[in-house]
Amino acid sequence: MDIFGILHSTIRLASPIILISIGGLFSLKVDIFNLGLEAFALMGCFSAVAATYLTKNLLLGSTIGVVVCVIYGLIYSFFVIKMKVNAVICAVAFITLTSGLTRYLMQPIFGTSGKFILDRSFALKPIDLGIFSENNLIGLILNNHTILVYVSIVLPFITHIFLNYTKYGLYIRSIGLNQVAANAAGINVDLWKYLASMASGFFCGLAGIQLAMSMNLFNVEMTAGRGFTALAVLIMTGAQPIPTFFAALLFGFADSISNVLSSGGYQPQFLAMLPYGLALMAVVLPKVFRLIGEKRKRKLSFIRILNREGGE
């Protein structure tokens, strides 16, 4: 088993999940439980492919794709903030809407249905960074990725710095922690909620570009549940950027391992369970250890009390 190949594809598979998670993180930090990240990512995939097809230019097409996603985020936040729709219900509506809309629009825009493949010249190609040579161990893992994968690697750290060390990060965090206090402190709560939602649209759009344009094709339901995986990651880590990064890497690793093992003759149903089993263990095991640790501590302190009383 080629361990470097596995680690290389771990990063490649984890990067859309990282991007979607960071998008969802901004939304969760302002107390909007955005279940519909899947919809934003799918819209990102579709609009990036459609815009690249119509403008015949990768950069312009990707930019338009991201802008469409930001507008999508704005519409979602409009319904949740202004119209006071329940965020989860609105998200479910968006997911259904996006699935149907992208399928429906394929025929008028592309002239085919189900799948559309762009010319390979528009693909988001992997970059060979000079500083990582092929022989270097780290180079084997980190070299030959597309630009958005590199963005997704540094993004959680930039987000951490933004949220914890800047003024605007403080605004966003305070809205999530205590909205009334934030309002009293003079922060324009609605404005920042809109901006956070637009930011989540932005990052989901980037994830959509990575998913679709690295393959230069669009397929219906291309996101394949990655939005929900990202949400699981966020809930698992409590919406902290750095743990989110590692949890997403864990999911990417599980996906990669199950892909490599799938040709080994194992039951495909068990391999499909693998990512979710690993995630469940990652959440449950620390708590189990902590519980055992506390029980031992309690037992030890009880024994200490007994000894003290006995000694006197």
Partner: protein, 341 residues
């Protein structure tokens, strides 16, 4: 106000109960069918889900335009709960020939067929066990093992490392039949070949398809194949990236292989021709109820198509033609169980 709403609610329930009861009484009478001019096709997947289904829909639309006296309706029924109601409502609206797809719809088809003995029902690969009891139900299917066999022959003939891999959609009988044909075709040319089988578990995720293709290429495969619908497009991308040969299913990936032409060929299935053949034979009065008909390459409903820019060598092409001749002359029996998974 609340009391009024409650009364209206109860009235609505009563009305719907009454209409439901009266409906089921009128069901069992259907007129004798003289000419068939209303045909319906019910799919259990979204109509734009897989390549073969898209081609089928296009083919039926063309057929409809050529034959304006027929009315062909194509609907999708994706939830198990709506299979029987939809098929039943089609029969009630007077569709004399109703074609359903796959085993999940078989029960619904048989239930409605019992109530409408004068209408014709076709089941595409329904695997109905007691079909002999139903005179107005005919099962038909497309033999995909033969084209898979030819694909295997081409792949083994072109493989230099002796390692090949295939990405299947899901672990289910139809894909396993394809894999069985593929594996036997491989072993006809190279009995010691090492072949890997990966199941993607999804029909619509090209990213997984690409990763599986790359994993197969990392294991040393220099020919990879994909019989997995949309996921297969990702595997084609992997083949283009790693410069391995590729055997496609149901479509040619010309748009992906623009720089390096590595597609050896594609096992095409003309589901539209299959369904049209079935429709025409039923209209002509040759409906064979109570049994399963299987059509294959001989009847022209599927073929292993080698594209004009295929890198296949003359030697390999000759092997494929020889295998094709053996199949047509009936010299080969191809098993439908995979040798290994």
């Amino acid at each position: 106000m609340k009391k009024k709403a409650f009364v209206i609610f109860v009235l609505l329930i009563l009305v719907s109960l009454v209409t439901a009861c009266t409906e089921s009484e009128n069901n069992t009478e259907s007129e004798e069918v003289e000419t068939i001019n209303k045909i319906a096709f019910v799919s259990d997947q979204p109509l734009d889900g897989s390549e073969w289904l898209v081609n089928l829909v296009d083919g039926l639309n063309e057929y409809q335009e050529e034959h304006p006296e027929l009315e062909i309706k194509m609907i999708e029924a994706t939830q198990v709960g709506e299979f029987e109601p939809k098929v039943r409502s089609l029969a009630e609206q007077g569709y004399q020939l109703i074609i359903t797809t796959y085993a999940s719809m078989a029960e619904a088809t048989l239930a409605v067929a019992e109530d409408y003995p004068n209408y014709y029902f076709g089941s595409l690969d329904g695997t109905i066990e007691n079909i002999e009891e139903y005179e107005n139900v005919s099962e038909f299917g497309l033999n995909r093992t033969e084209t898979a066999y030819l694909g295997g022959v081409a792949a083994a003939a072109m493989s230099e490392t002796g390692v090949v891999g295939i990405v299947g959609g899901m672990d289910e009988p139809i894909i396993n039949a394809i894999i069985a044909g593929w594996q036997q075709g491989l072993r006809r040319v190279n009995p010691d070949i090492t072949d890997y089988v990966s199941y993607a578990g999804t029909w619509t995720d090209p990213t997984t398809g690409k990763d599986l293709g790359l994993a197969l290429a990392d294991k040393g495969a220099d020919v990879i194949a994909a019989a997995a619908g949309g996921t297969g497009a990702g595997t084609a991308q992997a083949a283009a990236e790693r410069d391995t040969y590729f055997v496609a299913w149901d479509t040619h990936y010309d748009e992906i292989f623009t720089e390096n032409k590595v597609e050896l060929g594609s096992a095409l299935s003309f589901f539209d021709k299959l369904v049209i053949k079935f429709i025409e034979s039923t209209i002509a009065g040759n409906f064979e109820g109570g049994k399963r008909i299987e059509l294959g390459m001989k009847e022209g409903v599927c073929s292993f198509d080698i594209g004009p820019e295929s890198p296949i060598t003359e030697e390999a092409r000759a092997m494929v033609e020889e295998a094709l001749k053996d199949i047509e002359e009936g010299k080969l029996t191809i098993d439908t169980e995979p040798i290994h998974k």
